[in-house]
Amino acid sequence: MKYPEELKYTKDHEWARIEGNHAIVGITHHAQSALGDVVFVELPKIGRVLKTGETFGVVESIKAVSDLYSPFAGKVIEVNQALVDQPGLANQDPHQSAWMIKLEILDPNSTEGLMSSDSYSHYVETLK
């Protein structure tokens, strides 16, 4: 699996597409594959302020509930209602149309610890 180079990644298997002081956030191919059929997604209210690593929602497969963690500090300015209505998108298109939230980045320093696609691919390999 080739992970898109324009995204940044966390050890909790979230990705972030950073553009200026905004970013959209989702879960990775590896995360959706480990979960199996995604059947429910719960996202935060617009305006909520998140710290780095704070839980912002949940994603549920048939079998399990998993928390979603904010990759950095930010304020929620948009959520993906299409994903809430059609959770299976998280399996079909995890890095594009299954984005979860759009954040206004509050602390640019908090994005520095994220992994590149190469580092993340390597990290995923170590988990197998």
Binding site: G36, D37, V39, E60, I62, K63
Partner: protein, 371 residues
């Protein structure tokens, strides 16, 4: 080191996602839980359930011993018949639920939950020491390692098993079995039992003949749409039927009357372990009852979530299992609730991550097959 069934390399070949399930390395899924679940409901599903424990009870005292051990009436079992039952502690708590197959007038096979096998075997030996020797002789043997158990379930199961059987199997009634040959040379106990709510069979064959039978069943069933199914689909299939799972709905702290298993408790037969306690509970009334619920609001109910009154103020129970039902596309759960609120149609709330989400008690099974 995890235990592996004889079918381990078959699961690898099929790209099954292997997980640690109570000490056994077994596939949780192959193609996906929903896909496998729907295949089982529409055509057929193939399951490796070799992790289940098997204990043989044999001897002239076997029937009276078993009738003292379990709550159901073993004396009603004919040779070739199977029976679902539970065995209890003196206080009425459930040690395990199990199926008893009567293979001869004095020979029985007990099939128990994988995670309870060793506990059950020790319990059987302890009860043997309590058992009156004048009732006849008795040998209790742990035979789990001798069997591969494969379940084939679904509307096409009989058609598929027929292709491999040396005897007609369509006539086997539910909860009866025959002993015959599959694939010409594999000796098999062919039982019309299962844990999915579909028509189907559970096949017991010698441990090392498992891979051969598994492949023959795949060859015969795949063209009809049968799929191998993992433990994930096994769980959602049983949950749609409200079949209890030990460790979720059943434990040593639950009794069969509150678990909705009163139908396997025969208080009028001879004395058995737990009888006095269960008579007492029946007389004074159960304090909670296992029910099915479905969500009205958004969210999926899960094991451990609390149940509240409709206004959200009073805690009235707790869920033991829950999922999104693949057949019904509806979030469903099973749990214990105060009897006052157990009537189908009663509005309640489920506490999902701190929110009180509307739900209602529903009739079960959740799913009923059409054919």
């Amino acid at each position: 080191m995890l235990n592996r069934t004889a079918l381990y390399s078959e699961h690898q070949k099929l790209n099954g996602r292997l997980v640690d399930f109570g000490g056994w390395e077994l596939p949780v899924q192959y193609s996906g839980v929903i896909d496998e679940h729907l295949a089982c409901r529409s055509t057929a599903g193939l399951f490796d359930v070799s992790h289940m424990g098997e204990i043989q009870v044999e001897g002239s005292g076997a029937e009276s011993y078993l009738n003292f051990l379990v709550t159901n009436d073993v004396s009603k079992l004919a040779v070739g018949q199977a029976q679902y039952t539970v065995m209890c502690l003196d206080h009425g708590g459930i040690i395990d639920d199990l199926v008893i197959y009567r293979r001869a007038s004095d020979r029985f096979l007990l099939v128990v939950n994988a995670s309870n096998t060793e506990k059950d075997f020790q319990h059987l030996l302890a009860v043997q020491r309590r058992f009156d020797k004048s009732m006849g002789d008795l040998q209790i043997t742990h035979v789990s390692s001798k069997f591969t158990q494969i379940a084939i379930q679904g509307p096409k199961a009989a058609e598929i098993v027929s292709k491999l059987s040396d005897q007609p199997i369509e006539g086997i009634r539910t909860y009866w079995f025959i002993e015959g040959m599959l694939g010409q040379t594999i000796p098999a106990l062919i039982a019309r039992t299962g844990y999915t709510g579909e028509d189907g069979f559970e096949l017991y064959v010698p441990w090392d003949r498992g891979p051969e039978l598994w492949r023959a069943l795949l060859d015969a069933g795949s063209p009809l749409g049968m799929k191998p199914c993992g433990l994930g689909a096994r769980d959602t299939l049983r949950l749609e039927m409200k079949y209890p799972l030990y460790g979720n709905e059943l434990s040593e702290l639950t009794n069969p009357l509150e678990a909705g298993l009163g139908w396997v408790v025969k208080l009028q037969k001879q004395d058995f372990i737990g009888r006095a306690a269960l008579m007492q509970i029946k007389e004074s009334g159960i304090s909670r009852q296992l029910v099915g619920i479905q969500m009205i609001g958004k969210g999926i109910p899960r094991h451990g979530y609390s149940l509240y009154t409709e206004n959200g103020e009073l805690k009235i129970g707790e869920l033991t299992s829950g999922t999104l039902s693949p057949s019904l596309k509806q979030a469903i759960g099973v749990g214990y609730i105060e009897p006052t609120y157990a009537k189908a149609g009663t509005r309640i709330c489920v506490d999902i991550r701190g929110s009180r989400v509307p739900a209602e008690v529903t009739p079960t099974p959740f799913y009923r097959r059409t054919s």
